[in-house]
C-alpha cells in the first residue's frame, strides 16, 4: 500500500479496532490483493461496520460500488460476498469480504445502509444462493422463475438450461398505498414490456396507476441475461474480449479498454504510448456515440424524431472510423491485452479530423431544436428528479450522477490513459431531472471532442501498437512464418491463452454511463477464475420504480432513455 493511502485509512482502521477481535481482519502479506485495502469481515458485524464506515466523517464511504459473489468450493467457507466501497469526499476505496459456508449461507443485508445494495444482493442470491437477511425483496433477478440451482457456482454446468413455462412467469403483486379520498379513478395495474412499443430493449415495468399517476411499480429484468460472467470462466483471457463488446454495445470500445486494462494490471504490462493514445481517442468517440443513442432515444420517446436521425448520422460517421481501425462497426473488439488489435490505418488522423469537422454542426442543430423547445421542457424539467445525496446512496455514477450535482468522474478522480495530460472539464448540473441528464450529455460530447482535438494536435506517437512481450501479444505474421521461436509462442498463446498470475484486482474505467468496473480473480490456470462486471446502469435502473412514483406512465417512458439503461450491460 502506498504510504498516503495508509494514512488515510487510519481512521477506517480505528473503526475496525472498535469491533471484537478477529471479526475484521485486514488481508495482508503474500497472496493478498494489492490494488486496494481488503478486509475479511465476519458477517455478525457487517452491517454495523458498514454503517460506521459510511457515517464517520473521517472515512465517509458513501458509495457502495458493487457487491458480487465468488465461489471457492475447496474452502470450508465456500462463498465469499465481496463489497467494493468508495469514499466520494476522500477518493479512497475499500474492499470487504464476507465468507460464509454452504450450509449456512446467510449474510445480513446492507440495504438499510446503502439502498443501492438491493439489486446487487439479489444478483448474488440468484447466482450463488447466498441469502441476505432482512432484504426487502429477495428473489431471483437475472434468471427466470423456472430456473433451478445457482448458475455461477463452480459445480453448475455452464450449458444446463431450464425451460420457462407460461405458468411460472413472474407476476408482481403490487401493494397499493392507502387511497386518496379525492381520487375519482379505479386503480389499475398495467404491464409494460418486455416487448412493448414504448419500452427500450427488454425491460418489464409493472405499474399500478391511479388515473395517470403511478402509485406503485416494480421492474423485472433478466430478459437478456446472456451468462457473460459464466462464459468468461470457460474461455481464455483473450477470448473474453468479444464478450465485453456486448456489454454496453452502444460504446463497445470502452468496454474493451476497461477489460484489457484490468488484465494488464494483473499482468503488470506497460502499454505502448501509441496504443494508449489511440485508446483515449477511440474511447472518447465511443462516448460521443453512446451519448447520441441515450439522448436520441430519450428525445424520440417524447416525439422528437428528427434528432434521432441527426444523432444516428453522427454514429454512422464514427462507425466509418471504427471500421477503418478494426473492420467492425458496432462490436469492435479492437483492443488486445497489451495494446491494440492492429496498427492504426494510415489515414487515422485525417479521418478523426474530418469527424471533428462533421460532428459539431449536427450537435448544434439538435441543441437549437431542443434546448428551448417548449414541449421538451414541459416533458423533462422536474421529471424523475433525484438529489445528489440520494443518487450516491443508490450507487449512481456517470452522467446521471453528474446531472444531480456530484462531480465524480473516474477520468478526473483516478486518471488513466492520457486524461490527466489534456485540458478538460467535468460538466455538472444540479437539477437531477431528465432535462439535466440530457444536457450533461450534450456538454460531455463537446468535452470529448475537445479531448480528441488536443490529442490529435499532439500527433500520433511513434512505436509499436502492442506490447513487445511474446507471453502476452501475438508475434507478427512475418515473424511467425520465419522464426521457430515466434511460431511456438504463437501456438502457445492461441492454444493455452495468456498465463495471468494468480491474484485479484478491481479496476475502474469511466464508461459512457458511469463507473465501469471489472473485478477479476485469477488462479493462474489460463482462464479467469471469476470475472465480475460492475455495470454502471445496474444500480441506476434499480432506482427506477422509486423514481417514478407520483409521475405518469408517459414520464416513465421519457425518463428511461435519459437513464441510458443498456440491457446487455444491465443483465450481462
Amino acid at each position: 500500500m502506498p504510504p498516503e493511502a495508509a494514512v488515510a485509512l487510519d481512521p477506517a482502521a480505528a473503526i475496525a479496532a472498535g469491533f471484537p477481535e478477529g471479526s475484521v481482519v485486514p488481508q495482508e502479506g503474500p497472496g493478498a490483493p494489492t490494488d486496494q485495502p481488503t478486509w475479511v469481515v465476519r458477517r455478525e458485524v457487517l452491517r454495523d461496520l458498514c454503517r460506521a464506515l459510511r457515517d464517520n466523517p473521517k472515512t465517509r464511504f458513501d458509495l457502495l460500488l458493487d457487491v458480487c459473489g465468488v465461489d471457492y468450493p475447496e474452502r470450508e467457507e465456500r462463498f465469499e460476498s465481496v463489497y467494493h466501497l468508495y469514499s466520494m469526499p476522500r477518493g479512497r476505496r475499500l474492499r470487504l469480504k464476507v465468507p460464509v459456508a454452504e450450509g449456512d449461507a446467510r449474510i445480513p443485508s446492507v440495504v438499510p445502509v446503502w439502498k443501492g445494495a438491493d439489486w446487487f444482493e439479489r444478483e448474488v442470491y440468484d447466482m450463488f444462493g447466498v441469502v441476505f437477511e432482512d432484504h426487502p425483496n429477495l428473489r431471483r433477478i437475472l434468471t427466470h422463475d423456472g430456473f433451478q440451482g445457482h448458475a455461477l457456482r463452480k459445480d453448475y454446468d455452464p450449458a444446463r438450461r431450464w425451460i420457462l413455462t407460461e405458468d411460472k412467469i413472474y407476476m408482481p403483486k403490487l401493494v397499493a398505498p392507502p387511497g386518496r379520498s379525492d381520487s375519482m379513478f379505479e386503480r389499475m395495474t398495467i404491464n409494460i414490456g418486455p416487448s412493448h412499443p414504448a419500452m427500450h430493449g427488454t425491460f418489464r415495468f409493472v405499474a399500478m396507476v391511479d388515473g395517470e399517476e403511478i402509485v406503485a411499480s416494480e421492474v423485472e429484468i433478466g430478459y437478456l441475461h446472456r451468462c457473460m460472467e459464466k462464459m468468461s470462466e470457460t474461455h481464455t483471457w483473450q477470448q473474453v474480449i468479444p464478450y465485453t463488446d456486448r456489454l454496453n454495445y452502444c460504446s463497445s470500445f470502452i468496454n474493451n479498454v476497461a477489460y484489457c486494462r484490468t488484465v494488464e494490471k494483473l499482468l503488470g504490462v506497460e502499454v505502448p504510448p501509441k496504443a494508449v493514445w489511440a485508446r483515449t481517442i477511440l474511447s472518447e468517440f465511443s462516448r460521443v456515440m453512446d451519448h447520441c443513442v441515450a439522448n436520441g432515444s430519450s428525445l424520440v420517446d417524447t416525439g422528437a424524431l428528427t434528432n434521432f436521425w441527426y444523432f444516428f448520422q453522427v454514429r454512422e460517421e464514427i462507425y466509418g472510423l471504427l471500421e477503418a481501425v478494426c473492420g467492425a462497426r458496432l462490436t469492435v473488439s479492437a483492443c488486445r491485452i497489451g495494446g491494440l488489435l492492429a496498427d492504426l490505418p494510415p489515414d487515422f488522423v485525417a479521418r478523426c479530423r474530418r469527424l471533428l469537422e462533421f460532428i459539431p454542426p449536427l450537435i448544434d442543430d439538435v441543441e437549437k431544436l431542443i434546448d428551448k423547445n417548449r414541449i421538451w421542457i414541459d416533458r423533462s424539467v422536474g421529471i424523475a428528479a433525484i438529489s445528489g445525496e440520494d443518487a450516491v446512496n443508490w450507487s449512481w455514477t456517470g452522467p446521471c450522477l453528474r446531472a444531480s450535482g456530484v462531480a465524480y468522474d473516474v477520468r478526473k478522480a483516478h486518471p488513466y490513459d492520457l486524461y490527466d495530460t489534456v485540458d478538460w472539464q467535468v460538466p455538472v448540473l444540479y437539477g437531477g431531472d431528465t432535462y439535466d441528464r440530457y444536457k450533461v450529455r450534450m456538454l460531455e460530447i463537446r468535452q470529448s471532442l475537445s479531448i480528441i482535438r488536443q490529442l490529435l494536435d499532439r500527433g500520433m506517437p511513434e512505436g509499436p501498437f502492442v506490447v513487445d512481450d511474446p507471453h502476452v501479444a501475438l508475434p507478427s505474421k512475418e515473424a511467425c512464418y520465419n522464426q521457430m521461436e515466434s511460431m511456438i509462442y504463437h501456438f502457445k498463446l492461441i492454444m493455452d491463452g495468456i498465463q495471468v498470475p494468480p491474484g485479484e484486482t478491481y479496476l475502474m474505467t469511466e464508461g459512457a454511463n458511469g463507473e465501469l468496473g471489472f473485478y477479476v480473480v485469477s488462479d493462474g490456470s489460463g482462464k479467469p477464475y471469476r470475472l465480475h462486471v460492475r455495470a454502471p446502469c445496474f444500480p441506476i435502473f434499480s432506482t427506477f420504480s422509486d423514481l417514478m412514483r407520483g409521475h405518469s406512465i408517459s414520464d416513465a417512458i421519457a425518463t428511461l432513455g435519459g437513464l441510458n439503461v443498456i440491457a446487455g450491460e444491465l443483465e450481462r
Partner: protein, 166 residues
Amino acid sequence: MEVQGESWLTTKLEPFVDWAQKNSFWPLPFGTACCAIEFMGTVSSHYDMSRFGYEVVRFSPRQSDLMIVAGTITDKMAPVLKRIYDQMPDPKWVVSMGACACSGGFYRAYHVMQGIDEIIPVDIYVPGCPPSPEGLMYGILQIKEKIDRERKASRRGGKRKGEHAA
C-alpha cells in the same frame, strides 16, 4: 402483370396481392440486444430501408407481417417471443437477425436459447454478430424471392404461407 395502354393493367389477383405484399412489408422489430442497434442503423437515414417499401415499422404484432428477431433470445424471453409471434396475423414471415437469434451465437450458456427456431419457424437467417445493415437488407430482400417461389410452388399444389390444410 402487363400494363395496357396508359391507365390500367391486367393481372390475376394472386400475383397482385403478392406484389403488394412483398413490396410493403410492415416489419416488427423484436429487438433485444446489439442487433437492435444495427436495425436502427438500417432504418435510419444513412441506409434507409424505406427505399424498398419497408419503412412502416410497427411495434404492435397485430399490425405487422414481418418479424425481425434482432438479438439474443433467452429462456426468460422465449414465452414472450412465442406469444408475440402468435399474435401476428397470417401470412407472416420471420427474419432471424444475427448469430444469437440463429443459433445462440457464442453464448452456449444456461440461460440462452440456442436459436429461435426452437420455438418459432424462421424464413431467413442473417448471419453476423451483428450483421451489417447491408446484410440485413439483403436478408429481407430474400423474402421477396421467397414469396415468388412460394407462388410457383402453390401452382403445383404446394401450401402457401398462412394457408392451413383444409
